[in-house]
């Protein structure tokens, strides 16, 4: 490939990347813009990116009309608990799946992938009945249980990939040095899996944080409802929306995920096993 062709290709790649970033950022930036616009600007034929007369009225109205803080606390409780429990359960299971390859492990992996194809509506009624028998309807614990079960397959599949990326030679070396199985897992494998565990926990957290349908169906009283459910209270029949307050509330609802990503993205993208093996 000539130098010129290489530069052209590189420029094309950057242009494509920029286009993709704009595509991703547009809805969020528009959401922020809408959140700070007064009602009269929302009905403008020529909308502007920067509100001409920025206002906090939408935020005031959103908090005034709906129990956003309580809903956020419920969402946070459900998401954090679901993420922690999912990771605690998935980590040893993923290790077994990755290290002990056999028919059972292959079948389990297949089932994990297939289970991702189940639509919510297929399982919601049986699930509802099971939770009812457990007296877990209208309970955050019931919702957490559902979120754990729902995110476990993907968490397993994800973590198994991370486990496979850890060189078995490291564990073998530790075994030669006299470390037992548990010691190897805790002192050798787990630290190397940390980025994977964080990424998996983040996935489980965001899945639970954004989930709407299970929360809508399983939680009845206003005190228990989560943020996505409360956000729908700004919507009327036939898709009519109280757009300003909805945008303000939705903007606030996206913040935890963004902050979380910003804080731990380095842990995720850091070298997985850099420097682990001496050559």
């Amino acid at each position: 490939m000539s130098l010129r062709t290489g530069r052209t290709a590189r420029a094309g790649q950057y242009a494509a990347l920029l286009g993709y970033l704009v595509f991703l950022a547009f809805p969020f930036l528009w959401l922020i813009s809408t959140a700070f616009k007064p009602a009269r600007e929302l009905g403008s034929l020529h909308p502007t990116w920067i509100p001409e007369d920025p206002t906090l009225d939408n935020f005031r109205q959103a908090f005034d009309e709906q129990p956003l803080l309580r809903a956020a606390a419920n969402s946070l409780t459900a998401a954090v608990c679901a993420a922690l429990i999912a990771v605690v359960i998935a980590t040893p299971m993923a290790y077994v799946m990755a290290r002990h390859r056999g028919r059972l492990s292959t079948a389990a992996t297949g089932w994990v992938v297939v289970s991702q194809a189940f639509p919510f509506v297929l399982v919601i009624i049986p699930l509802f009945l099971v939770l009812k028998h457990l007296h877990l309807i209208n309970s955050l614990w019931g919702l957490i249980l559902v979120y754990v079960v729902w995110s476990l397959p993907f968490a397993l599949w994800m973590l198994a990939g991370y486990v496979r990326a850890v060189p078995p030679e490291l564990e073998e070396a530790a075994a030669v040095d006299g470390a037992g199985k548990a010691r190897i897992l805790v002192s050798v494998t787990a630290p190397l899996l940390a980025p994977g565990i964080v990424a998996t926990a983040l996935f489980a957290f965001i899945t639970a944080w954004n989930e709407f349908f299970f929360a809508l169906v399983l939680l009845k009283t206003p005190e228990k409802q989560t943020l996505p459910v409360v956000l729908t209270h700004f919507l009327g029949a036939e898709g009519v929306a109280d757009l300003g307050p909805l945008a303000a509330a939705a903007f606030l609802a996206t913040l935890p995920s963004l902050v979380l990503f910003a804080v731990i993205q380095k842990r995720i993208t850091g070298g997985l096993t850099a420097g682990a093996v001496k050559h």
């Binding site: 009602a39 009269r40 929302l42 009905g43 403008s44 034929l45 020529h46 909308p47 109205q61 005034d64 009309e65 509506v121 919601i124 009624i125 509802f128 009945l129 009812k132 457990l134 007296h135 877990l136 309807i137 209208n138 309970s139 955050l140 614990w141 019931g142 249980l145 709407f212 349908f213 809508l216 169906v217 009845k220 009283t221 206003p222 228990k224 409802q225 459910v229 729908t232 209270h233 700004f234 919507l235 009327g236 029949a237 036939e238 898709g239 009519v240 929306a241 109280d242 757009l243």
Partner: protein, 432 residues
């Protein structure tokens, strides 16, 4: 490792006990002291309406210490799936707020109580028979229709007055051909006479079709429903298609829009008129630029007069509720004329009840209230909402066919063929 198994089992058992202990399950029969507890799931969403509902619940609870009502905030979004799951799981609210076009499956499925033996005379007599038809499925009445909204033309006063066209009134509305002429008259550079937001083309077409004598769904003496496409059924779709196509007086770009999407164009003078539900006035009041003048006009009329189909909001009682009588008593309280006026004003809609409809607060010229109230007597149950198989016909047959017809992709013959032939095949499966 083997020694750890009992510990693991113990931990799991403890977790299960903890989960069960943290349950939110309640006894729907009532409290230990004999107080009856009812849950009322409301879909009110606008602040004034939510406040009115909550206030009425508080008033009821203060006056009835032995029958306490818990207000549960529902949402129009996904309400059908949420209710279906609750019904299946035996956890449905006692009192259910919904719309009549969503009740058929629940009524036929045995999830809703037949209210006929429970309704007080005051309520049955105050609400007109045509409104009760919207909640009558088979031989039973499965909801109390209490709020409704007609489609109206929300018009830019300045454009309308400067054009010199005749301004329609409920007594002397535009005919459909006249409406077509007027929209052509109002169309000039940069302004369309009308924008039809037809994201949901089926309900708009069928409901307005009643004014032209359209019916489409015909129930025989044996109770079986068939689809026939008569002359009246073609008036509304034909008018819209001509306005979009040959006249150029309706904005093609609006065809895929929802009602709210057309408002910026309406405020900006791009559209002279927009056919919208009566409750959209709230958004117009909130979002219209300073000094923008608008008015509410009746939708065009045909051989059926001002008739149009509506799906009223309803209050129903769950069949599983152990306190149906008390639930109906609460509904009766909620729907006292003075209370319904509060709910109607909160939702910017019209009450179905005759006494509430006569309230002076709903006859003010301000924000078009009087213009809408004058249409109330012409409102009929939306065609086909009690027809089994209608949702499938709507989604699989009518919506794509109408979308293609309005965009000019297919002609009237093909539209008729699809609506009737394909439609009857769908209905047949539900009527075996």
């Amino acid at each position: 490792m083997r020694r750890r198994l009992p510990a693991t089992a113990a931990a799991l058992t403890a977790l299960a006990l903890l989960l069960s202990g943290c349950s939110g399950g309640g006894d729907r029969d009532g409290d230990a002291d004999g107080t009856i507890r009812l849950s009322f799931q409301s879909l009110a969403w606008q602040k004034e309406s939510v406040d009115a509902n909550k206030q009425l619940v508080r008033e009821w609870n203060a006056a009835h210490p032995d029958i306490q009502v818990d207000y549960v905030q529902g949402s129009w979004d996904n309400v059908h799936d949420q209710l279906l799951t609750s019904f299946e799981g035996g956890e449905a609210p006692d009192i259910i707020h919904d719309a009549s076009d969503d009740l058929a499956d629940f009524a036929y499925g045995g999830y809703l109580a037949d209210l006929r033996p429970l309704l007080p005379g005051r309520l049955t007599e105050d609400i007109p028979r045509r409104s009760w038809e919207a909640t009558t499925f088979g031989d039973g009445v499965y909801g109390v229709p209490f709020l409704q909204e007609p489609k109206v033309l929300i018009a830019n006063t300045k454009i309308l007055e400067s054009s010199g066209v005749r301004i329609p009134t409920p007594e002397k509305p535009w005919s459909w051909p006249e409406f077509r002429e007027v929209t052509a008259e109002l169309t000039e550079k940069g302004t369309y006479g009308v924008a039809w937001p037809l994201k949901e083309p089926v309900s708009v077409t069928l409901n307005l079709g009643l004014s032209a004598g359209g019916q489409l769904f015909h129930r025989g003496a044996d109770g079986r429903v068939t689809i026939r496409f008569g002359e009246g059924d073609g008036v509304v779709p034909g008018t819209v298609r001509d306005q979009v196509g040959s006249d150029g007086s309706a904005a093609r770009s609006a065809l895929g829009m929802g009602g709210s999407d057309t408002l910026p164009g309406f405020f900006g003078g791009k559209y002279a008129m927009v056919p919208l539900g009566f409750s959209y006035r709230q958004q117009v009041v909130e979002q219209a630029p300073e000094g923008f003048e608008w008015t509410v006009l009746p939708a065009p009329a045909g051989s059926g007069g001002l008739a149009q189909g509506v799906s009223p909001q309803t209050l129903s009682v769950a069949e599983d509720s152990p306190h149906k009588e008390e639930a109906v008593r609460f509904i009766d309280f909620l729907l006292r004329p003075a209370n319904v006026v509060r709910l109607a004003r909160g939702d910017w809609m019209l009450p179905t009840g005759t006494e509430a409809l006569a309230d002076p607060a709903l006859h003010t010229e301000e924000n078009g209230w009087a213009a809408g109230t004058a249409l109330a007597r012409a409102l009929r149950p939306a065609p086909a909402q009690s027809v089994r198989g209608y949702p499938e016909w709507k989604d699989k047959v009518a919506t794509p066919a109408l979308q293609e017809y309005y965009s000019g992709a297919i002609g009237a013959g093909e539209l008729r063929k699809r609506l009737v032939d394909d439609g009857n095949r769908v209905l047949a499966r539900y009527q075996r």
